[in-house]
């Protein structure tokens, strides 16, 4: 609540699928310049929470607000206009488009030329394309994968594809970045790389991530929300959460003891 400009806030969000309660009275806030981690055992409701934040799932009760304004009837394609970006668990790259085109799709919302100038290929459209192209290349370059711009995703190593997906999310210069398991499939070295990258992003935006890898979560996040059976069972800094007996019982258990202290 300290930030002058509030980020994404969920208040008392409840989601049920048929008889199953996926989320029950969940409240949280993703603040600017901070990384919020959402953790919890499988089936705890993490993905549902993400889908609520993106408009894929409409909550049965509760409110969602962004920058202090309540979001009603949020639809996924509205996100870009709200300067919210999200990565997908399965990468979701466009397989038959080059890496550069993939990232350009992420910048599409900021295009200023429309259908007719594209049809006639007016100078306006060409200038606009050149500008977006420059931004897309800069986003790829920032993640060190600009050399793959002309390649197709299927021919690239997984870690590179992950960075392309991230570049596509970052090219729109979001104020909130939602990352769905950003570390899955990465090696330890790549994960450390990702960690420092995410810390660097907080200069510009709020970050909220769902993640299984405790090392990453503990080292990167400012705040954690722990879900279990659709309820928030703990919140706080990584250290507070780690010492919380309820969390240990529900989720971390021996995993914490097994993790070597840094």
């Amino acid at each position: 609540m300290s930030a002058a400009r509030p980020g994404l806030a969920m208040h008392d969000v409840t989601v049920t699928f048929g008889g199953l309660t996926a989320l029950s009275g969940v409240s949280l806030e993703a603040r600017p310049h901070e990384v919020l981690g959402v953790i919890g055992p499988n089936g705890a409701g993490k993905t549902t929470l993400f889908n609520v934040a993106c408009g894929f799932v409409v909550p049965d009760a509760g409110t969602l607000s962004w920058r202090g304004r309540e979001l009603q009837r949020l639809r996924p394609h509205d996100l870009a206009g709200l300067r919210i970006s999200r990565t997908l668990q399965g990468l979701g790259l466009f397989d038959r488009m080059t890496v550069l085109d993939n990232v350009l799709v992420g910048a599409d919302h900021d295009a200023t030329s429309g259908f007719w100038s594209a049809l006639l290929s007016l100078p306006r459209a060409s200038r606009d394309e050149a500008r977006l192209r420059g931004r897309a290349l800069a986003a790829l370059d920032e993640l060190g994968v600009a050399s793959y711009a002309d390649r197709y995703p299927a021919s690239l190593p997984y870690a590179v594809r992950k960075k392309v997906a991230l570049a596509r999310a970052l090219v729109s210069e979001p104020e909130l970045l939602l990352l769905d398991e950003p570390a899955s499939g990465l090696s330890d070295a790549e994960m450390a790389d990702l960690g420092s990258l995410l810390r660097g992003l907080t200069d510009r935006m709020a970050v909220m991530l769902v993640e299984h890898h405790m090392d990453l979560v503990m080292s990167v996040c400012d705040d954690l929300v722990v879900l279990d059976f659709g309820r928030v069972i703990a919140t706080g800094s990584p250290a507070e959460v780690r010492d919380d007996p309820a969390v240990q019982a529900a989720y971390l258990g021996n995993a914490v003891d097994a993790t070597p202290e840094a």
Binding site: L93, R96, D101, V105, E129
Partner: protein, 345 residues
């Protein structure tokens, strides 16, 4: 130089030169065939954008051509034309575009086989409408199309450039290829820019496209509308060429032919659509001639054409699933990739 050659307008100018050279050198029979290639090419170009770039399948593009053709016929009933021919083209295109928008809105909610089914219904229904409203639309016999004579200045200009008088068939052929070039330039501009990128993104991954800010419905409808407009223009050229708009010309067979042309040439490429249209137009003739010279009688030789066409289609799908042009492109990309990686090491 390569960049320049890749520009649609530059390609169009080169194409225009080739078209003028070819069309001045052919007899009326070939001119009619080339007009057929043009209207099949225009419709196939629109379809390849829809199916190849946006992933929507349409079995109804023959019916959309019929809408353009009947609009043309209705406007060209009198001996003294009320509208200049290019205005008729615009009206035919816009009418088809509007119908396409209505279908596109419905189609945007459908996927794969369901979309194929819905557009199939269109292909079956449109000829039926022509029969039902027989008084206005001429029923089984169809409507005659009275093509106005070319304007005097055009005849003079044609004589000045080619040194020959413009026959009616060559005039229509020029008209058809003019429409094709304009359509292809527009389609190429759309598909290489922002609009085409949105279509392709929706085709490849709906969720990712949506998260990136693309409204799926709008992208699908716009692809369908653009594609329908091309089909309407193709219907105009066909009506002007065959001088008739009759239900039999726009049966399901036409829709299927367009789809096979697009698959043969390679989904999503305009050059592929043109190659497919050329095959559709000329392959039957070539096969029939070959059959006759191999000693078959005329009827047997004519029956050979669909067989060979079917075999070519099966062979392309099995051996070159990216289509003729698509496979060539893939081979070229591979070649370039290997040479550049060699150069790097």
């Amino acid at each position: 130089m390569r960049r320049l050659l890749g520009q649609p307008l530059v390609l169009a100018l080169l194409g225009a030169v080739v078209i003028i050279v070819v069309l001045t050198g052919v007899d009326d029979f070939r001119a009619v065939q080339l007009t057929q290639m043009a209207y099949l090419g225009i419709a196939a170009g629109g379809l390849t954008v829809l199916t190849g770039l946006n992933g929507q399948i349409s079995l109804g593009h023959g019916a959309l051509m019929a809408i353009g053709a009947y609009t043309t016929a209705l406007l060209l009933q009198d001996d003294e034309p009320t509208l200049p021919l290019l205005a008729v083209l615009v009206v035919a295109t816009v009418v088809t575009l509007v119908v396409g928008a209505a279908i596109g809105v419905a189609a945007a909610r459908l996927h794969g086989p369901y979309l194929a089914g819905a557009t199939l219904a269109l292909a079956v229904a449109v000829p039926g409408i022509a029969l039902y409203f027989g008084d206005t639309l001429g029923g089984e016999q169809g409507l005659r199309v009275r093509v106005p004579d070319p304007p005097g200045w055009l005849l003079d200009a044609a004589y000045f450039v080619t040194g020959q008088d413009l026959t009616p068939s060559t005039y229509v052929a020029f008209l058809g290829w003019f429409v094709l070039v304009v359509t292809y330039v527009g389609l190429a501009h759309l598909s290489r820019g922002r609009v085409g990128r949105r279509w392709r993104a929706v085709r490849d991954d709906e969720v990712a496209a949506e998260v990136a800010g693309i409204a799926l419905g709008r992208a699908r409808v716009s692809a369908f509308v653009v594609s329908a407009a091309a089909a309407g223009a193709a219907g105009f050229v066909m009506a002007v060429s065959v001088r008739l708009a009759a239900p039999s010309g726009y049966s399901l067979t036409l829709s299927l032919m367009l789809l096979t042309a697009v698959v043969l040439g390679g989904l999503g490429t305009l050059s592929g659509a043109l190659v497919g249209a050329a095959l559709l137009t000329f392959l039957p003739q070539v096969i029939t001639d070959a059959g006759v010279s191999a000693g078959l009688d005329d009827i047997r030789a004519a029956e050979l054409a669909p067989l060979v066409y079917g075999l070519v289609l099966v062979a392309v799908v099995l051996l070159a699933p990216a289509g003729l042009v698509g496979s060539l492109r893939l081979a070229w990309h591979r070649l370039r990739a290997t040479t550049t990686s060699k150069g790097a090491t």
